[in-house]
Each structure stands twice: as C-alpha cells, then as structure tokens.
Assembly symmetry: C2
Homo-oligomer: 249 residues x 2
C-alpha cells in the first residue's frame, strides 16, 4: 500500500534558522493545506518517505506531522496512512479577544472606557487566586463597531498591571495591551450564559424592547499559571455569538 497520488509539496529547510526544523516543515505543509494545494481527503506523503525526501530524521518529520494533527489539519490512522482532514474540523488559534475578532472580520472596533479605578473585589480576587483585599484595577469598557455598541466589558486586573492607562485601552484591545507588556494569556476558563440586561447595560448597548444579552465570565492565566485577568462581559445577543472548537484528547 504505497502512498500513490500524494501531491509532493515542496518544502525548504533552513538549518541555520533558529526556528526548529519540525516547525519549519509543519508551517510549510500547513500552508499547502490552507491554500488548497492539498485538498481534504488527499493522501499525505508517508512519514518515512517525507523524511527521506527532506533529508530529515523520522522523529523530526513525525513531530511536524503531529503538530498538524493537533491543529486538526491531518488525520492519522495506523496501517492506513495520513490524510488531509475535512475542512470543518480545522482548529483555529483560540483565546482571541473581541477586538481581534472584529478586526479579523474587517470591522472597526471602537472602545470607550467608562470606569477605570482601583478597587478591592472579593469575587474577582478569588478568581485570580489573590488575597481578598488585594487592590485590583477595575476597567469597564463599551466596545462598538460600525457605529453601534456591541458589548459592555468589565475586567479586573492584578496589581502588576494596575498602571495600564485609559488611553492604552481606548487605542486597542486589552489583550493587545497585555501582550505589549510581555504577558501571554495561555489558558482561560469561560462560563457563558444568557439573561435580560440591567438598565445600565440597556443604556450602554442601546437595547430596546425584549432583547436578551449573552454573558461571559473569564479567568485567564499565562503559561506558568499566573492569573492575568478576570472579566465579566455582556454582549448584544442580536449581533454577536461565540464560536468555539471543542476537542477530546
């Protein structure tokens, strides 16, 4: 059962580059899946052949393939071979912010900071694994796009980020500000629900009649497990839904 008909994607390897070989391979092959050079269902070049063709060891090629499998780009079955996965199961990078999401859709997000002050909040502190009386930076923002409001976002930030200014937050998204400070949120626990808006929320979101809001609370942590942010967001359900990929491992 030799792999026949597998389109040979050209891969160029730079051994001087600091980026790992397996990642160079995964990147270039992922691009081939993304731009359609490799189609869903297509057989994928087998490990050993690919390793030989690229002049790499099998473990290195294997790791590249594993990286693509983890992203849902490829499917491997023992004895059967590797194939390009159904397009619907491709996972995108997750943990994006509303700001990034809107920008990716080609819309222009606008942010107004409504509150910006130091407070002690027991619920937020416990979510962030801090002492109950720790002073946190409370930020309430209204985010809009295309001229009308979409979300009211309440966030609590730990002391080391208490010096973030209103201006920074109005220019860009919270996650972009954090990334700029060298913080990379890596894991988040989110709880999503729905309810009727409070009167403040109705005013901020310009809601009339019987329109519910979609709510999300989030605790975000960096790779080492330090708390980054606790948030309580509230979206116009009419204009926004949350899209996620879930997978079993």
């Amino acid at each position: 059962m030799q792999t026949v008909g597998a389109h040979l994607v050209s891969v160029e390897i730079d051994r001087e580059s600091p980026v790992p070989l397996y990642h160079q391979v995964a990147e270039q092959l992922s691009a081939a899946v993304a731009d359609g050079r490799l189609q869903p269902g297509d057989p994928f070049e087998n490990e050993v052949a690919l390793a030989q063709r690229l002049g790499l060891s099998r473990p290195t090629v294997r790791r590249a393939i594993q990286e693509m499998v983890d992203q849902g780009l490829l499917v491997r079955r023992r004895g059967l071979g590797t194939h390009v996965a159904n397009r619907k199961v491709h996972r995108r990078a997750e943990l994006t912010s509303l700001f990034d999401d809107l920008r990716r859709e080609g819309r222009t997000p606008v942010t107004t900071v409504v509150r910006h002050e130091l407070v002690a909040d027991e619920r937020a502190a416990s979510a962030l694994d801090l002492e109950p009386d720790t002073p946190l930076l409370l930020v309430v923002r209204v985010r809009g796009a295309d001229g009308h409001p979409i979300a009211v976002m309440t966030n609590w930030l730990p002391p080391q980020h208490a010096d973030i200014t209103r201006e920074e937050l109005e220019d860009t998204g919270l996650y972009a500000v954090l990334r700029g400070r060298g913080v990379r949120p890596a894991v988040a626990r989110q709880t999503i629900g729905a309810r009727m808006p409070t009167s403040v929320e109705r005013r901020h979101l310009g809601l009339r009649g019987q329109q519910p809001v979609l709510t999300m609370t989030r605790m975000a942590f960096d790779a080492s497990g330090r708390a980054v942010e606790f948030g309580d967001h509230c979206y116009r359900a009419e204009d926004y839904s949350i899209d996620i990929m879930v997978d079993e491992r």
Copy 2:
C-alpha cells in the same frame, strides 16, 4: 540548581501491558497531582533523573511529561525546570453532553422524545458535509432534571445512524448511544448565542414572562473527520450555563 525537595512519587511500570509506557507514567503522576501528593508550585523531578529512576529512556519520560503539560498539570521552563501548575489551569476532558454533565452533578436527567422522523434538511446536510437531499434522522428531545425542563434539543443524524430508536434516546444521552455504536465524537464546532424563545420553546421549557434562552449549535466529527451529528440546542438560561476551557497552542 539540582532539583531538591521534589517529592518522589512511586510509579509502577508494567512492560507487559498493552498501554504505552509513557501513558502509564503520565497516568500515575497525574493521579499524584490530582490527589494532592504533588502540590501546585512544587518542583517536579527532572527528566533525566526520572528516566533513570524508572529505568526508562528520556524520550519516553519526556513524552509522559508532555502529556501532563498538555493537560495543564505541569509547567515547563527551560533552564528552570518543571513545576506543578496552578490548580485553576487544569484542563478537563471536554466534549461532554448535557446528559453526562447533569449526571456528574448528581442530578437525574429525564428525556422525552418529541419528534423522531426522517427528513431532508439542507442546512443540517451542509453542516454534515452531505448532499442536500440526504435523508437525515431528525430528533427533537426535551431534557429535564429534578422535575423541570432544562433544554429543547434538536439533532440531525447522518443515514448510518437513522435506525436509532426513540427508546434508546429516552434511556440515555445521544452521545452514550453513539458511543455504544462505536462512534467517538472527537471534535466539535459550537456556536453559542442568546435569544428570546419561540412559543413552542416557551411551552416545552415552561417559561413565563421575559426569560431568554441560551442557544448552541454544534457540528460534531469523529477522529477521522466524518460527521457524527448536527445539533441545535436551546437551554433555559436561568438554570444552565456553558463552561469551557480555552487554550492557546
């Protein structure tokens, strides 16, 4: 910087077992984290030492550790060592069904099948990557717990599962039935939103006054990328919220 104070967890390895050595190691060390023998922040035995102690090669031990890192149990930093992660970032197995969720909480889910028929549905068929006129099994169920309804669940199933009976569905959850048929959903794309209920939904869920519903549509696939199920669910927002872990990779 020798790893000192690292609690040595005893690990027993069965080389005759069909379960991979790296998984045996990961399982036993994960248990040590779960039951508190290893505490968050504790230094973890370093790779080479652990490999030597267990009589395994470094790659094998490394893979076990990687498995735990992927689950958020451990944090590795180059030059620094491996440590037990903050408890809040531990990821749980996802892709559970409402039935399993309720049972885990110690509640008793009850299901009533409202509709059960073969239909052709263009939207569902396209979500499942099938021809638009493919006959699908349409199932509408009302799920309740503790005496009152929680969700109205509409699902479309591909032809190979069209023989699932009303009885099977009332006894247990859809995912349990599918697992019983050898199908393991592995990836799902979910979209979560909120809206006001339709009159049918109000009646099924026993809603009065102004109460919104939380909605979720889901496309589920097995490990090989074959469509398993397309669902459109609708929950009493008062009694239910969706809990997820998101992570960047």
